[in-house]
């Protein structure tokens, strides 16, 4: 089999040359048009284009689909359609339901496939071809870090979706990137006191950790905060991201003298490792005179659904949950539920909020210029978006807000009612210094407007 079917001749060489030349010239043509203005992709017509970069295929496709629903709802609300959702409860009143700065909001979508290179390619295409002035989305820290760096280089704003690794606003932070979602450190800080109350201060923990950057920062965060209250860490084992059967990793836990298993896993990893752990009878075990316990630091309702019965009674943390009773959450659940027929996930919530926060920052700054938006978001304090009073800290572009500690519900009343909120950990307890060792080694740099 051969890819070149015909012998090379003058015509085919000319044709290939012409095509190649056009292809090479293309990015320059596009960027030169964009660069002629004050900043990259300045909207000149009556519309502004946002780029929603979410996993539409691959293992996180269900999260991605929920994120996209949230973005579509946000665009509706920004353009003055629907019931307005959280715009009615948002403490900033800059948004009027007339688009952003009078321009109607339009959007393009890209598929990250939960792969860094594919995510960068789709973000690049949305910036260069579709003229997106802001990129948002993502269901993986690896992807978020990669796309954030790309947006910084290109000169557009990146509003991160679901990304929980410390690195996103730690060693890989960027001036053009902002994260509303909480992080590994906050999970550890919120969980530790609840765990101490429930299981005591004298425990031996065994960690199984997904072998990539989110796994490492989560393991470190939970390890440090539980050790600080007296727990001992017996063993930490990295598991390959592609692993599906965790029995070979679970059985050594049975033989250690650990009495707690911490699963630093997310997505399919978490569903499988938790299912295996329960199958191997870990939860029925008594070690050192105590009941054996399992902990999942980052919970999501979609994954709780995948693990079924096995999540009952298991502690974890989450950014937001639809059963919250504040006005913002209620408004969001109402408008999302009316439109789609089921409650939103935490991924949907953070994405919806990020879209609103971006639009609001543009309104307050009076421009889409990334440097103006950065200035408007830095140090911005707001309320009414579901997590209580929140601060977008200027030093690292991380949101500081209350964190939820949740537990798998023993008697769910519906297929959505899988987690119960055990405690709303106040923001003070999860706040850390910008130069905290778990976040050290990064610098924001200066904002880039692409000009």
């Amino acid at each position: 089999m051969s890819l070149i079917r015909k012998p090379l001749n003058r015509r085919s060489i000319l044709r290939a040359g012409a095509l190649g030349g056009t292809a090479l010239a293309m990015p320059t043509i596009l960027t030169s048009r964009a660069w002629a203005q004050g900043y990259l992709n300045e909207p000149t017509g009556s519309t502004v284009t946002l780029g929603f970069n979410v996993p539409q295929s691959g293992p996180y496709a269900d999260e991605g689909a929920d994120e996209l629903r949230a973005y579509e709802l946000a665009v509706e609300h920004l353009n003055g359609e629907g019931d307005g959702g959280m715009m009615n409860t948002f403490s900033s009143k800059a948004l009027k339901g007339s688009g952003i700065l009078g321009k109607k909001v339009e959007y393009v979508t890209g598929d990250t496939q939960t792969k860094s290179d594919a995510a960068r390619a789709s973000a690049k295409s949305m910036i260069e071809k579709d003229g997106a002035v802001m990129i948002t989305g993502g269901s993986s820290s690896g992807v978020a870090v990669a796309v954030q760096a790309l947006c910084q280089e290109a000169g557009v704003i990146f509003m991160a979706g679901l990304t929980h690794s410390n690195d996103t606003t730690g060693k890989d932070r960027r001036a053009n990137g902002f994260r509303h979602f909480f992080n590994s450190y906050m999970s550890g800080a919120a969980l530790a006191p609840v765990l101490k109350n429930a299981y005591g201060a004298d425990r031996k923990a065994y960690h199984l950790t997904a072998d990539y950057n989110w796994g490492y920062t989560t393991e470190q965060a939970v390890k440090e905060s539980t050790e600080a209250m007296g727990w001992e860490t017996v063993e930490t084992v990295k598991t390959p991201l592609a692993a599906t059967d965790f029995s070979a990793y679970i059985t050594p836990v049975l033989q250690s003298d650990a009495d707690v298993l911490v699963l630093n896993h997310y997505g399919g990893n978490m569903v499988n490792s938790l299912t295996n752990a329960v199958q191997f009878g870990l939860r029925d075990k008594v070690v050192n005179g105590k009941n054996f316990e399992i902990i999942v630091p980052l919970y999501s309702r979609l994954m709780a659904k995948g693990a079924g019965e096995n999540v009952k009674g298991i502690f974890g943390s989450t950014n937001w949950h639809w059963s919250l009773q504040d006005e913002g959450s209620k408004a969001f659940v109402q408008s999302f539920g009316q439109k789609y027929g089921f409650p939103p996930s935490q991924a949907a919530h953070t994405c919806y909020v990020q879209a609103l926060l971006y639009a609001d920052a543009c309104e307050r700054a009076g421009t889409f210029n990334p440097c103006g938006v950065v200035e408007a978001l830095e140090g911005f304090e707001f309320d009414g978006l579901g997590n209580g009073k929140t601060l977008y800290r200027a030093e690292d572009h991380q949101c500081f807000k209350d964190v939820l500690v949740v537990k798998g519900k023993e008697n769910p009343t519906s297929e959505f009612d899988l987690l119960e909120i055990v405690e709303v950990t106040p923001v003070e307890q999860v706040t850390y210094a910008p130069d905290h060792p778990q976040f050290a080694g990064g610098a924001l740099g200066t904002c880039n407007s692409g000009a």
Binding site: A248, Q255, G306
Partner: protein
């Protein structure tokens, strides 16, 4: 000692799955000479047969309970499965509970049909093409099948529990007189191992003791001569393709409670199953089964914390490492015959 015993047990269920998939791959390769990269997808479809049946059995009608409310504050819609309404709550619940074992019966005709359709509709056009073409087309088919499943069932894993009687685990250590609570093994994994043993035994018996099986074996050894004797060997090989699909499907159905099925579970098993086939010896059925269990158990050993701390990353490469060593010392694999893929 107990750690070793535990890892052998652990390797058994995974090895069973490898052996069942590799058995089907070898059957197809031995009879039709086709390298079938869509075989993992057949395993995955098997698992989704279990999911589908459990969904069909749980089909419900809706009644409105004005006493309770849903998340939007509207009256709660209560779902009652039809089977519970027809057979009474207890029998109905038991039927739903046993959906995975019932899935065996449900999946056989479906898998046989898919196997036949695949062979007649696509693969038969590739018999005379090079192996590279066969790999490309079957790999493409696997991706199509995956995406179809993802379209209907979503990307997240779907919990498909075993019947309640098999839930939980038993203390294997205490049974054989060791310390209690050290060697614990889930019931369902033992069921899976026994099930695999029965299926493997059944396939061997079929090939060994039936006239049909005898003709197929003769055809595997010398297709031309069997053809010259006036036997339509192609038709029988098509049936063997369907049989291989059923074996992969059954492996998938019973695997559903071990790991919640998702659309790419087939790919996770496929590559390793090919290594199993090559290590066992191309075209050798006992070799495929033996290599399946050996590699499953080795993989378990390599995942032990003690081993990984000595040789980091060994758990991810052990199978390939062993494959290299075996192929260097025995180029035809453990039980490979002379002349297969060597002409």
């Amino acid at each position: 000692m107990d750690a070793i015993l535990l890892q052998i047990l652990n390797g058994l269920d995974k090895g069973s799955a490898y052996a069942l998939i590799a058995l089907g791959l070898t059957l197809i390769f031995g009879t039709l000479g086709v390298v079938n990269f869509a075989h993992g997808a057949l395993f995955m479809i098997g698992a989704f047969c279990a999911v589908t049946l459990s969904r069909l059995l749980s089909l419900s009608y809706t009644t409105i309970d004005p006493e309770r409310t849903d998340f939007l504050g509207n009256p709660l819609k209560v779902e009652t499965p039809y089977v519970e309404a027809w057979f009474g709550p207890e029998t109905g619940a038991a039927i739903i509970d046993w959906s995975v074992p019932l899935g065996i019966l449900f999946s056989i005709p479906i898998m046989a049909f898919i196997g036949l359709a695949m062979e007649r509709g696509l693969i038969k056009y590739f018999y005379k093409r090079p192996h590279a073409d066969q790999i490309l087309v079957t790999f493409g088919l696997a991706i199509v099948l995956q995406e179809i499943i993802k379209y209907f069932f979503g990307a997240n894993p779907i919990p498909t529990p075993a019947p309640d009687v098999f839930a939980g685990s038993f203390d294997f250590g205490a049974m054989i007189g060791m310390d209690p609570n050290v060697i614990i093994y889930p019931y369902w994994r033992i069921v899976y191992f026994l099930f695999a043993a029965v299926i493997i035994g059944g396939v061997f018996a079929f090939l060994q003791y039936t006239t049909f099986g005898m003709v197929v074996r003769a055809g595997m050894a010398d297709r031309q001569t069997v053809g010259l004797l006036g036997i339509n060997i192609d038709k029988r090989f098509t049936v063997m393709f369907a049989l291989a699909a059923v074996v992969a499907g059954l492996a998938g159905v019973m695997y559903a409670p071990i790991n919640s099925p998702n659309y790419h579970m087939g790919m996770d098993f496929l590559v390793l199953s090919f290594v199993v086939v090559v290590v066992g010896g191309m075209g050798s059925l006992p070799g495929a089964v033996l290599a399946g269990f050996v590699l499953g158990i080795l993989e378990s050993f390599a995942s032990m914390a003690q081993v990984v701390s000595l040789l980091p990353g060994i758990n991810q490469i052990i199978i390939y490492l062993v494959a290299i060593v075996i192929l260097l010392t025995r180029p035809r694999g453990l039980m490979g015959r002379k002349g297969v893929m060597e002409s």
